[in-house]
């Protein structure tokens, strides 16, 4: 097993490198960082622009491969992803923002997975009954709605709640209330309140998706002979379904969970922007709009690492859940 994981990790390092190099080349070839300094009043002299661009190693006049070489050397020798156009180290930006994103993502993914699985199982067990139909159609409705619409609707709802109660119960702008004073619990409570809406908006989408997959995985399992065997042994229907059914239906889901954890980042881009969270999603969007090549390449590296961790995780979880694939 350990050898297997080691081999996987070597594979993934190669894959992540390829993805990052391609990302860097693509960003360098398409983005125009000089545009940021043009058309200013008073105009910035071309020599200064060039020197800024040279300092940041993003000057389009330098051949891409040369810039790539410098960037990779910096990454390997100093662990630096270069500087962003704002002058910060990209690594520092990513570290400070990743925590914000991951907090949102981890809570959202876990909640989404748990609720999604539960609803999927419930829908499969009650196939074609009213409750199943309600779950099915609501999921389709959520899946068909763009994430920002869901977020805006949630904000409208929260505003109404606040207005009705006459108090600011639900805060939904930013990660915390700026300038709030108080002890640990006050700060903690404040952050928690700020988490509510973005988490709900992430969770709703995840639940809708997971419940669909879980339902079909569960339907396959429900008619299996071993459920009947478990009941013949003396398990009640519900207990047989949970102990023998859900346990088996989770096996194909594990791959799906792991990978969507890696890719949920794109969904969080919109959520973070709508709720003004300064996370990785917002960072990617900002760096693209400000033609910040180093930041874009750094984000791509970060995302590819997340996806590959998810891949390893899914293999490990799969093997843990299914004895048939263990080597």
């Amino acid at each position: 097993m350990l050898g297997f994981i080691a081999r996987r990790i070597v594979n993934y390092v190669i894959l992540a490198s390829i993805a990052t190099v391609l990302g860097y080349v693509l960003a360098s070839a398409t983005l125009n960082p000089a545009a940021r300094y043009l058309g200013r009043n008073p105009p910035i002299p071309e020599a200064s622009i060039n020197s800024i661009l040279n300092d940041l190693n993003i000057n389009p006049d330098t051949p891409i491969l040369e810039r790539l070489g410098i960037w990779i050397t910096g990454l390997i020798t100093r662990g630096s992803l270069g500087q962003s156009v704002t002058g910060n180290e990209v690594t520092a930006d990513i570290v400070s923002r990743a925590g914000t994103s991951l907090r949102l993502l981890i809570i959202g993914s876990i909640l989404g997975a748990v609720i999604g699985v539960a609803l999927g199982v419930w829908g499969a067990v009650r196939q074609y009954r009213a409750s199943d139909q309600v779950i099915t159609y609501s999921s389709f409705a959520v899946l068909a709605t763009p994430p920002f619409v869901v977020a805006v609707l949630l904000m409208i709802g929260a505003t109404n709640v606040n207005r009705a109660s006459g108090q600011q119960i639900i805060n939904f702008t930013g990660e915390y209330t700026a300038g709030l004073d108080g002890g640990f619990w006050v700060i903690f409570g404040d952050r928690l309140v700020h988490l509510i809406l973005p988490t709900i908006s992430l969770t709703i989408g995840a639940v809708a998706l997971y419940s669909r997959y879980q339902r079909s995985a569960m339907l396959d399992v429900l008619s299996a002979d071993y459920i009947r065997t478990a009941r013949a042994k003396g398990r009640t229907r519900g207990s047989a379904i949970v102990r023998h059914g859900v346990r088996v239906a989770l096996i194909p889901m594990s791959t799906f969970f792991a990978y969507s954890f890696g890719t949920i980042l794109t969904g969080a881009t919109i959520t973070e922007n709508v709720f003004s969270w300064h996370g990785m999603g917002e960072y990617l969007l900002q760096s693209v709009t400000s033609s910040d090549i180093n930041a874009v390449a750094g984000t791509i590296l970060f995302t590819s690492i997340l996806v590959l961790i998810a891949g390893t995780l899914s293999d490990v979880v799969y093997a843990a859940l299914d004895p048939r694939v263990r080597v």
Binding site: R7, D225, Y226, T229, A232, K233, I251, P323
Partner: protein
């Protein structure tokens, strides 16, 4: 008489699917006494499984169950799922048909037995339950139970899984065990083992057993009483000996006569039971068997006959025998003779027979097919060899049937696939019509394909559901550039030849019954007028009653068209019936081959002896009086290296030999040699009579 363990009264099960009602079980009543062994026999769709799932309360929610089911006097239909769960597994336990899918793949076998134990005995500690589960595995004959308890179901063979199922079912000393086709998915040798285990489990726990099966041979040896089901009802019930000796219901008579029998002469033709059981979407108004019954009279269609007690010679009703036929009195007193109801069909008249030439049409010489077993993703290295076919020599003469038998995994299918490939062999030679297939080019190979055709096992899976019968049957001709009009004419002709209406040409495969579909499969093979037909288990997926019709058809076609058959089957009774010569295969080798009558009457290889003795005979007296040669364990994996004779790991003769003689089996790989008129690959074939069957 004490109260019965199980008493089923007027049980009806109706399925309600998409507004269509299917009356699967209609008014079934029976009792199971303490310690009794009841056999329930019926074809697929007769309601035999549904009625016992109703007893367990395991039917899907689309089923409506009516009537009364009393277990120890307690009405099961009034209980809710929780209360029933207390009885399931403790009072009544069940063994299912398919051991492959009946165990949860993600828990070890030990865990699943422990689960069954602890569900009903909360006070039992985990350790004690584990200890008991190992004991149970030992009881059902699993070697190294301590180690095997930690294995997952996929690491067990089919027979071992079924043993584990039996271990689960007897874990809580139930009073009643329901076994639903427990041996159908298994080989005969394994079937014999499992039936033995079931019998000893019954003796050990004193439980009553209800054995559900389609195989009359299986009930003959074990059951005390037998109930025959047809179209959702019990149509005859009697003690086992009476049922086989003096059946009263024409359906039972037909079923018994349609079975190929190991004990009877091979030359006798089988009696087909034409037609198919009614589809139970409407309740039959007359006797449901009347459309297929040769003894049906006008009155048979006036209302369904009730299940009545049979009167004996003195006119006194016999409480042990019941039948649902209005003519049962005539049949019982002999005015309507049993063998006249289903007369044996005549063979093909001599003038229609194709002339026979003695020539070899198919010859394998020392054919081998090994598959490499590799490890590693990037650098593949060979870690072993699967010796699927390991030096097989066969000869098939024109107009003959060669039966190829053996357990699953012995290499039968690989052998015929190698032949059908028409591309030579890995080692050795394959000659069709005297031509070595390794020497063929593409055009020759296509031309030769006309001479050798195949019929597959599963008539449903081997016919394209989106093609009409005409397209299916005519397809081989399109490969050989035949004009559409000509194809149409030939299809009509061939449909008639296989006993189907030419007007069926426009229909789809799903509109036909299993037997009819297999006839379509045969027609597709025959349309190119081949000389050799390879039949891969052609009747094993069919119900007994239609099997006879297909076998008779194959025999007629052979006589009429002068075909040669290579007939692959695991059912020895069928082989005995149809084959002229037999080759017995074990682990990629032929262990005994020769004239069919000779081998069946006097087998010399210990494996052939064991195989023959494992086949259940549909005759209770023969079945009970003989002792079986049971083979130990499963077929070894073809990757194993066994020195000397590869059968010695399971050989009952080897186990009996004195030490001095064993050495030869261990060191010397036996080659085929002529013994008493056939070829045997055994050093001690002359003394194999020591094994008394």
């Amino acid at each position: 008489m004490t109260d019965p363990v199980l008493s089923v009264r007027n049980l009806s099960v109706t399925f309600n699917a998409n507004g269509r009602r299917v009356h699967a079980v209609r008014g079934v009543s029976y009792d199971v006494q303490r310690g009794e062994f009841l056999g329930i026999v019926g074809e697929s769709g007769s309601g035999k499984s549904v009625s016992s799932l109703a007893v367990m309360g395991l039917l899907p929610s689309s089923a409506t169950v009516e009537g009364e089911i009393l277990f120890n006097g307690r009405s099961l239909l009034d209980l809710n799922d929780r209360e029933l769960s207390g009885i399931r597994g403790r009072g009544i336990s069940m063994i299912f048909q398919d051991p492959l899918s009946a165990l949860t793949p993600v828990y070890t076998v030990g865990q699943q037995i422990v689960e069954a134990l602890r569900l009903h005995d909360r006070a039992l500690s985990q350790q004690a339950a584990e200890k008991r589960s190992i004991e149970l595995l030992k009881i059902v004959g699993i070697p190294h139970p301590e180690r095997r308890a930690k294995s997952f179901p996929h690491e067990f063979s089919g027979g071992m899984r079924q043993r584990a199922m039996i271990a689960i079912s007897i874990a809580n000393d139930p009073q009643l065990i329901i076994a639903d086709e427990p041996t159908t998915a298994l080989d005969v040798t394994i079937q014999a083992q499992i039936l033995e285990v079931l019998q000893s489990a019954k003796d050990l726990t004193g439980a009553a057993v209800v054995l559900i099966t389609h195989d009359l041979g299986v009930v003959a040896g074990n059951a005390d009483d037998v109930a025959v089901m047809y179209a959702g009802r019990i149509v005859e019930k009697a003690p086992v000996l009476d049922l086989f000796r003096r059946p009263v219901m024409p359906y039972t008579i037909g079923l018994l006569r349609s079975m190929p029998n190991m004990a009877s002469a091979a030359s006798e033709r089988l009696v087909p039971l034409e037609g198919r059981p009614p589809i139970l979407t409407v309740v039959p108004t007359g006797c449901p068997f009347a459309p297929r019954c040769p003894a049906a009279i006008a009155e048979c269609l006036d209302g369904e006959p009730p299940l009545e007690l049979v009167k004996n010679g003195a006119g006194v009703p016999d409480p042990t025998r019941a039948v649902a036929c209005i003519r049962h009195e005539e049949i019982e007193d002999g005015t309507l003779a049993r063998d006249e109801i289903f007369p044996r069909p005549e063979p093909v008249p001599v003038e229609l027979r194709a002339p026979q030439k003695r020539e070899t049409v198919l010859e394998l010489r020392d054919m081998q097919r090994h598959f490499p077993l590799t490890r590693g993703a990037v650098f593949k290295r060979r870690v072993g060899t699967v010796r699927a076919v390991d030096g097989v020599s066969l000869q098939l003469e024109a107009g003959q049937t060669l039966g190829l038998v053996g357990e699953s995994g012995c290499g039968k299918t690989t052998t015929i696939m190698e032949i059908l490939e028409l591309a030579g062999a890995q080692q050795g030679t394959i000659s069709v019509n005297g031509i070595d297939t390794a020497t063929l080019n593409r055009t020759d190979r296509r031309a030769l394909r006309r001479d050798i055709q195949v019929v597959f096992q599963d008539p449903m899976a081997s016919l394209d559901p989106r093609m009409t019968v005409e397209d299916i049957i005519g397809e081989p001709l399109t490969v050989h550039d035949v004009k559409p009009a000509e194809i149409r004419r030939k299809v009509a002709e061939i449909l008639q030849l296989v006993g189907l209406e030419p007007s069926f040409a426009g229909r789809y495969a799903h509109e036909f019954s299993g037997g009819q579909r297999q006839r379509i499969g045969i027609a597709r093979a025959l349309i190119v007028e081949p000389k050799i037909l390879v039949l891969d288990e052609p009747v094993s997926a069919l119900d007994v009653s239609v099997q006879a019709g297909v076998i008779n058809l194959l025999e007629d076609l052979k006589d009429r068209l002068g075909l040669s058959y290579l007939f692959v089957a695991h059912d020895l009774a069928v082989i005995r019936h149809i084959a002229d010569r037999v080759a017995v295969m074990y682990l990629g080798r032929i262990v005994e081959s020769g004239d069919a009558d000779l081998i069946f009457s006097d087998p010399r290889h210990p494996y052939t002896r064991a195989l023959l003795s494992a086949v259940p005979v549909p005759d209770p007296e023969i079945e009970r009086s003989r002792s079986r040669i049971l083979l130990a364990g499963d077929l070894p994996s073809p990757t194993e290296e066994i020195t000397g004779c590869n059968f010695r790991t399971r050989c009952p003769l080897y186990a009996m030999l004195p030490e001095a003689q064993r050495v030869r089996c261990e060191t010397d790989d036996p080659a085929q040699r002529p013994v008493a008129g056939r070829d045997v690959a055994c050093h001690w074939a002359e003394v194999s009579e020591q094994l008394v069957a």
